[in-house]
Subunit: 439 residues, 2 copies
């Protein structure tokens, strides 16, 4: 394992002691604890066994046996890190390290260990093992913070950030009846994980009940990897809106209807898809737009489609920008329709507002990373994370580490051990700075 | 009913007799028999009852009770027209009018009475009732042709020109096992219609066994209606090729994957569809190209499609032109793929070569129409017809009459009574000229 800051600090310390011991020695030399990179990566390796699949990834959907196994393993590591473990009524696992100030609100940090079907070994897992390692490093260093620390493993993140949603909102019966990928409902899942549906209110995190929330995660867009940047300071989780787009033309005989006389809904859909791409890429920024699903009716090779139904998704950190892009798309769709006698109708069916990270926490994260000698970049998270729910009840900050080629939700997902250790060290330094900062 | 040529001829004849009688009078004045337009349109009206639906159209799929009823009605009209009726082994109905030359091959003309589900009252029916009316007019006029005349009602045209296919080829067991729209196989359908599967060979029409084949039909593309032309002289039935197009990109997270890093198969499919339209319309001619079916995989609003499967259909009267257009499409698809890192693969799954009408019969049809004072236009048939199979074994000619707005295969399908009578008169004149022409 190569860690540049280690080499740099080692040179400063003129020390060449064995690595595991030297970490702590170096940490003491620079006046702060550091994570044990070898231990952290060993834990990540060990975690792979739960739901391991033949492709080298994992299938560990929430509420499955693999999920239960990984959660038990996380509890064991929490205890080894000196944490007091409990499962909240929603099925989230909390590991508490007491602080020196009994009246101080806890600093919360963690991630999730569930995966998508045929997922990889890093999404969620880096942040979960990293958070436990931070607690373990503090125990090793004998550091007691002012605020209590809560390491958290959220339940069912991949199914829609359920664990954090359940404790930051008042879930409806309909939501609880949602069937998860495992086939179990959220309600059933809570019971399987050892939660208590009757006491769900007891798990509720109200505004002001936490000092801060931090989450370490792999960056799933490949931006850090492409730019060769070590640490991403997350500006927030992008807003997301999805529409069902219905294009009506006139179905007709594909042999007898001359080209100029057609009201071809498929041709209009094609021009729409191309136009969405153009509108989204025609201005600077990291906004994205996608047509992911499409169906043509009647859907025969020899019939001009009279109707096409497709989806439109727009995401950006800036909600008004999404609205502005959508209006452009709507306006241009109108023109496309006029051009060949088709009509466009939009029905919005998913709306998630963006969740910005706290600017003070962004500064703390960026400063911590640079102090450790790491290159940094500010960027949005295009993917959803539990952090977006926590942002509703308190200051939120996220730390990204590179994922090679941005591959995610697939067995080929990979982050280098030293990249992971850097992220955990930044999390550790961030928690310590936040502990002494009034937010 | 208004018929321009009637008015013109009536003026010439300085006659104002009642219409049914005057037709024959006028016909005699101009030296040739003419159809009884009132009778023809009354028969078409009566035919509507078989499979009549609430929308004002018909549902008369082959082998249904409605189909059997319409066929019985046609047989009755054939007998009233003085024809000797038989059902061939394939289930086609033939009505024979003897000629004066026992060694002469028959002139065959007719169409079909089956419909698509929720079809209209003109497709096939105009040509069927028109053919019977031609025979009836000859009986009325006491004209005996040299060649025997065979009026034919082909079985199951809408299911894929089965009746004419069965007698112009040697059908395989697999073809006979095809399930028709009625749910019955072709094999079962032949029995239902009173055919004889064991004697199928007896129904075979060999090359040289007919003097000519003629078919009167509505023009389903709306070209005649748009141009205000009364009679279409069909150049032939276009060739048709269909491909399944598979576009491969890389499925990825629609939130985290930056726009420039995408290999979006849906965007490539959109550019492909737009390009097909451009290639097909970029040169003069009546060629058509259609993308009628499409599916994106995995097909979720929040996933960039990694694969799209769609269809491509190209039709033209000139088979080499289809090939040339396809090569352009293939070449441009390649460029689209290079542009965003996707690949295109084409699998051809339907190939029908074009069937040209006989140039001498085209001349006879055009001359007959102009002699009657009708405007004419040469045009291809974009739709398939039984005539395309007959073209394999003898000279084929087709006569089109306008269908309002080109609407077809729908209850709103409509051709004006006078337009239909014009077509039948052209058919009559054409048969008489062909009878005295060496082909």
């Amino acid at each position: 394992m190569q860690r540049r800051h280690f080499v740099r600090l080692a040179a400063l310390a003129a020390s060449s002691a064995s690595i595991p011991k030297s970490w702590r020695d170096l940490a003491h030399l620079r006046g702060a604890p550091a994570v044990n990179a070898a231990r952290l990566n060993a834990h990540l390796q060990a975690l792979r066994q739960f739901g391991k699949n033949e492709a080298g990834g994992i299938s560990r959907v929430a509420y499955s046996a693999a999920d239960l196994g990984a959660r038990d393993y996380a509890r064991q590591l929490m205890r080894e890190a000196g944490l007091t473990v409990r499962t909240d009524a929603a099925g989230n696992i909390f590991g508490r390290r007491a602080g020196s100030d009994a009246r101080a609100t806890p600093i919360l940090f963690g991630s999730h260990v569930d995966s998508v079907p045929d997922g990889g070994n890093y999404d969620g897992q880096v942040g979960s093992m990293g958070a436990i390692e931070v607690a373990h490093a503090l125990k090793d260093a004998g550091v007691v913070t002012r605020h209590p620390l809560d390491v958290v493993i959220w339940q069912n993140e991949e199914g829609g950030t359920w664990g954090s949603h359940l404790v930051t909102s008042d879930p409806t019966d309909r939501e609880l009846a949602t069937v998860a990928t495992s086939g179990k409902t959220i309600r059933e899942g809570i019971a399987v994980l050892g939660g208590d549906l009757e006491q769900l209110g007891s798990a509720r995190l109200r505004t002001g009940s936490i000092h801060a929330y931090f989450e370490l995660h792999i960056e799933q867009g490949g931006l850090l990897d492409k730019a060769g940047i070590q640490i991403g300071v997350v500006e927030g989780i992008v807003g997301l809106r999805q529409w069902e787009v219905t294009i009506l033309g006139v179905a007709n005989h594909a042999g007898t209807t001359p080209m100029p006389d057609r009201h071809d809904a498929m041709l209009a859909a094609a021009r729409f898809t191309e136009m969405v791409n153009r509108v989204v890429t025609s201005e600077a920024g990291r906004q994205v737009g996608t047509v992911g699903r499409i169906q043509a009716f009647p859907g025969a090779p020899n019939v001009i489609p009279g109707k096409v139904v497709c989806t439109l998704e727009l995401r950006d950190l800036d909600d008004p920008k999404i609205e502005r892009l959508f209006r452009s798309v709507q306006r241009e769709a109108q023109s496309i329709g006029v051009n060949n006698g088709t009509t466009f109708a939009f029905r919005e069916f998913v709306t998630h507002e963006s969740a910005l990270s706290d600017p003070r926490l962004r500064t703390i994260i960026g400063d911590a990373a640079r102090r450790l000698g790491f290159s940094t970049m500010s960027l949005p998270s295009g993917a959803g994370h539990d952090a977006q729910n926590l942002a509703r009840i308190g200051p939120m900050g996220m730390i990204f580490v590179p994922s090679v080629a941005g591959i995610s939700h697939a067995p080929a997902e990979f982050s280098a051990p030293d990249a992971i250790a850097r992220g955990a060290d930044v999390l550790l330094a961030t928690v310590l700075t936040a502990d002494t900062t009034t937010l």
